[in-house]
């Protein structure tokens, strides 16, 4: 598998996701500097977490206009799998590849802890091996919002990827860490080849992390 990880100024989970890809998918990704303009052939493009451009202006807003994003969008439109994690999710939303908005957490503070997510649609390239999984979140702006028309649309198209739930898989207010509408933790585009998610699967990818549930997302891509 040929994989690419985009590096923006301020990306800080680029190495973490590269290590996870190397360990699970088995080949090391090409790190692509944001000022490069093209990705010719790829089987997976990851837009990693971090604080691209310091999250100044609005999270993901500046990165979404960076030269490389044209190529990411072209690849996405051709059906290449594109995955945005945390800040990467924010960037994919700002670039128009995914619907909705990510607002400040309802607690108004940064949250770093383990949460549990449930895959809503397990028939996609990213989730065919997914089950109820524990992994960390670490964000200040992960409060997903979409208006009622958009919610209806993404629900009707099975575009919800993950929802925050409790240990039993129950999706309720108690298991919602950041105020996201309908506990949404991740969404797909219409064709399900673009995934954006706030939780960090690359931080739950080996036993030393205390949990390796995040592996199933990368393993899904292999099958």
């Amino acid at each position: 598998m040929k994989t690419h990880v985009i590096v923006f100024p301020g990306s800080n989970c680029d190495r973490d996701v590269a290590v996870a890809i190397q360990n699970i998918i088995g080949s090391s990704p090409e790190m692509v500097w944001h000022k490069d303009s093209t990705i010719n052939q790829s089987d997976l493009i990851v837009v990693p977490g971090g604080f691209s451009y310091g999250d100044y202006l609005r999270c993901g807003a500046m990165a979404s206009t960076s030269p490389i994003m044209k190529s990411v969008i072209e690849n996405a439109n051709k059906g290449v799998p594109v995955m945005g994690i945390c800040n990467g999710f924010q960037i994919l939303i700002e670039s128009g590849l995914l619907q909705g908005a990510l607002m400040r957490n309802s607690s108004l503070s940064f949250i770093c802890r383990d949460i549990i997510i449930k895959p809503t649609n397990t028939k996609t390239i990213f989730t065919n091996k997914s089950t109820i999984s524990k992994m960390p979140i670490a964000h200040n702006e992960g409060n997903y919002f979409a208006n009622s028309n958009q919610i209806k649309e993404i629900e009707d198209n099975d575009q919800i990827a993950f929802q925050y739930c409790d240990e039993n898989g129950d999706i309720n207010a108690h298991s919602n860490p950041n105020g996201s509408i309908n506990n949404i933790a991740g969404v797909f585009n219409k064709s399900k080849n673009v995934l954006g998610m706030m939780p960090h699967p690359e931080r739950a990818a080996e036993s030393i992390h205390g949990c390796d549930d995040g592996r199933n997302i990368f393993e899904s891509l292999l099958s």
């Binding site: 301020g10 770093c112 670490a138």
Partner: protein
């Protein structure tokens, strides 16, 4: 300083406002052979203030042990360096940002983190962990909540953005910090032994390069402000606090590490306290050379900046380097890639002087040795107060049946309750190498790409130091050492942050001297040298000093991560043991302070032989895989430690012991003790080994159930313990 003996052309008030004393000014005039101009006066003020010159503390700091088998670089560089095998080194230091954090908590704390990060990556290390030691005033003081929120926000805001995990720290509350909080930030980085960078300038004619952010008017005289006491008008000093930009620091970090892979940097120094002044002078002094700077070349954020302002600005995220002339274009291209300023602003000379030009005119010319070697050094008068007397408490004054309700009160108190609310605001997992998260005795971070880890802890008990500075100094070191041991690591070295009041008061200086003596004795005995550190004096407001607070940041090595220990109880049926002697020491304990609102009874004495013996025993047991969990018995005593283990592991315990003085046993704060969890099939070996090593062990009880129950006393449910433990910050 009386006006009658003022015989200089320079205004006396100008000298005073620069924080310089008459004799210090006389020394400047004598050294220069003339009176300094304003820029030069500013430079002397910046270099000779307490914060930069260590003039009151230097004499005493030299008494601390600073060398050891694994020490590669001791105090004196940007950070200390230790050998962690396989060609890897750990680089670390802790630094205070107390005064700015009290004035402007978010930015003060954020730039504290930014500053210590730069100290570490200046040495060629990639920072891998941030820690902190925080002290706030009375929890009910009107300013406390605002300060806690701001400081926690600032530490998280900076660390999260730059992408270095904040893996732990300590937070305490005491009224002595009402007017002067402490924010001590520590960073640990990892580098290769043959790729460590130092600050000594070399090579006459080599270019001196400025990189990073532009220089603005922020933070002018920050270090001088940090060397004075506060009063009611201190709010006016807010403009001396700098503003941090973690995004730029992230770019600076990556650009510096990228350039460090090339053979281009001869010397590098971050621009921290006193900015361009201290960085250029330190580089010249360490290299025994001179430096010429053309200030017109300095990238400026504001128009019409003067030489004085440029030299004293504490704008953040800047570095000064001496580079190989042939590599100038390569270096420039790397910094350009990261959208950072890169400007050759001067050159290394053989004059041994700092010479500044601006707009073609000479602005300053000062021999380096006057600024550095001739800097004032004081052996201030000191008085050592008698330690507070020890009080021996007796069983008859306590009600056994109140033990569990006392426990609940104690673990709900701000000084003992869960810090989850704080650490969840810090990204403690970025870099994906965090092995032990906040909440155990020490945080453990894997050395990337290996199966070894480093354990890190920060500790201090100021109340102990206040009531017996010698034993308190010892305590800070041994408590830290024990936390490292309890995580399964071999303790290697420490950094210290010496936070004290006004050293011109003999009793404060006495606290400093005694704390150092205690620390030195403990470090020597435990082979736990001090490799870097920082001194913060004048922590006073309206003449009231803080409690003496020598915060210790320790680092240990875990060669095989499968030996990592945490505090959470693992399995039902296992047995909990107490290691070490218990002597019912309730003096100055958390029990007395929280339950009886008393602060007396004396500081527990530290037996360093027992510390060493018991610590080695624990490490030996861990290596033999005898233990499932380990917890140092510290603040709050045995029962608080048991409760923490139960809460973390979501396990109950049936405690079965017989004691004449239950409060003394459960809440006494005797030292050199650990709680360990052992599986049934290892009990015998543990007992045999303990007896061979002459280590006292006591069976506490069996793990299991959903409560802590104590024979003859009663029980308390785990859910109630958790509610009490998390309540205070949840309602914050």
């Amino acid at each position: 300083m009386t006006s009658s003996n003022w015989h200089f052309d320079t205004e006396k008030s100008l000298v005073e406002s620069h924080g310089l004393k008459l004799d210090e000014f006389e020394k400047i005039v004598e050294g220069l052979g003339r009176e300094p101009n304003l820029t030069e006066l500013g430079i002397f003020s910046a270099m000779w203030n307490e914060h930069c010159s260590y003039k009151s503390s230097k004499y005493w700091l030299k008494k601390l042990p600073t060398s050891g088998e694994r020490v590669i670089q001791g105090p004196g560089e940007n950070a200390g360096v230790i050998d962690i095998d396989d060609g890897d080194v750990a680089v670390f230091k802790m630094e205070s940002h107390n005064h700015p954090s009290f004035l402007e908590p978010y930015q003060g704390a954020a730039t504290g983190v930014g500053g210590i990060l730069r100290d570490v990556f200046t040495m060629g290390a990639r920072p891998v962990a941030n820690m902190n030691a925080l002290r706030f005033g009375d929890p009910n003081h009107p300013k406390t909540k605002h300060l806690v929120s701001g400081v926690v926000g600032g530490i998280g805001g900076y660390g999260n953005c730059i992408g270095i995990p904040t893996v732990g720290g300590e937070v305490n509350f005491h009224p002595s910090y009402n007017g002067n909080i402490l924010v001590n930030a520590m960073t640990v980085g990892i580098a290769k032994k043959d790729k460590i960078f130092y600050s000594a300038a070399a090579g006459i004619g080599n270019p001196v390069v400025y990189v990073g952010s532009k220089t603005g008017r922020d933070g002018i005289h920050g270090a001088t402000m940090a060397s004075a006491e506060f009063d009611d008008d201190s709010e006016e000093k807010k403009p001396t606090v700098q503003v941090g930009d973690p995004f730029t620091e992230k770019l600076l970090l990556e650009a510096c590490l990228e350039l460090m892979k090339e053979d281009a940097i001869i010397a590098i120094q971050d621009m921290g306290a006193a900015g361009l002044t201290s960085s250029s002078i330190e580089m010249a002094s360490k290299g025994n050379v001179g430096i010429d700077i053309n200030l017109s070349k300095v990238p400026m954020r504001a128009a019409n900046m003067t030489a004085y302002e440029l030299m004293l600005s504490e704008s953040q995220e800047r570095m000064l380097m001496v580079i190989q002339p042939k590599k100038e274009e390569l270096a420039r291209s790397i910094f350009k890639k990261w959208d950072l300023e890169f400007e050759v602003i001067g050159e290394v000379t053989d004059t041994k002087k700092l010479i500044l030009h601006m707009d073609g005119e000479e602005q300053a010319s000062i021999p380096i040795n006057i600024l550095v070697e001739d800097a004032p050094e004081y052996q201030r008068d000191y008085i050592v107060n008698d330690p507070s007397p020890l009080i021996s408490f007796e069983s008859k004054d306590f009600e056994d049946k109140e033990i569990l309700s006392d426990l609940l009160k104690m673990i709900s108190h701000p000084n003992l309750c869960s810090r989850k609310w704080i650490w969840e605001q810090y990204d403690h997992m970025v870099m994906a190498d965090t092995v032990v998260r906040p909440g155990s005795d020490a945080a453990v971070v894997r050395v990337h790409g290996t199966n070894k880890g480093i354990a890190i802890s920060t500790d201090c008990s100021p109340t102990y130091c206040r009531h017996n500075s010698y034993e308190g100094g010892k305590h800070a070191v041994v408590e830290n050492w024990r936390n490292i041991v309890a995580s399964g690591a071999e303790p290697i070295a420490i950094t210290d942050c010496m936070n004290f009041g006004n050293p011109e008061k003999p009793e404060i200086m006495g606290q400093f001297v005694e704390c150092i003596r205690g620390m030195g004795d403990a470090c020597s005995k435990l082979n736990y040298p001090v490799i870097s550190g920082n001194v913060s004096l004048y922590n006073e407001t309206n003449g009231e000093g803080i409690y003496p607070t020598p915060a210790i940041g320790g680092v240990g090595l875990i060669r095989d991560l499968s030996n990592t220990m945490t505090i959470d109880l693992k399995n039902e049926g296992n047995v909990l043991y107490l290691i070490g002697e218990s002597n019912n020491h309730l003096g100055n304990s958390h029990y007395l302070s929280i339950i009886q609102s008393r602060e007396d009874g004396g500081t527990p004495s530290i037996n360093l032989d027992d510390e060493l013996k018991n610590g080695k025993f624990i490490l030996d047991c861990i290596a033999k895989k005898l233990l499932k969990s380990v917890h140092d018995v510290g603040e709050g005593g045995v029962l608080v430690a048991i409760a923490e283990m139960c809460i973390s592991g979501k396990q109950g315990i049936k405690i079965d012991i017989t004691k004449d003085f239950l409060h003394g046993f459960f809440f006494g704060e005797d030292q050199a003790r650990y709680l360990v969890e052992v599986s049934q099939n290892k009990l015998e070996q543990l007992e045999v080994d303990a007896s061979k090593s002459a280590v006292k062990i006591e069976r506490i009880g069996e793990i299991g159930g959903t409560s802590i129950s104590i024979n003859s006393i009663g029980e308390v449910e785990l859910s109630s313990l958790i509610d009490h433990h998390t309540k205070w910050f949840n309602e914050f």
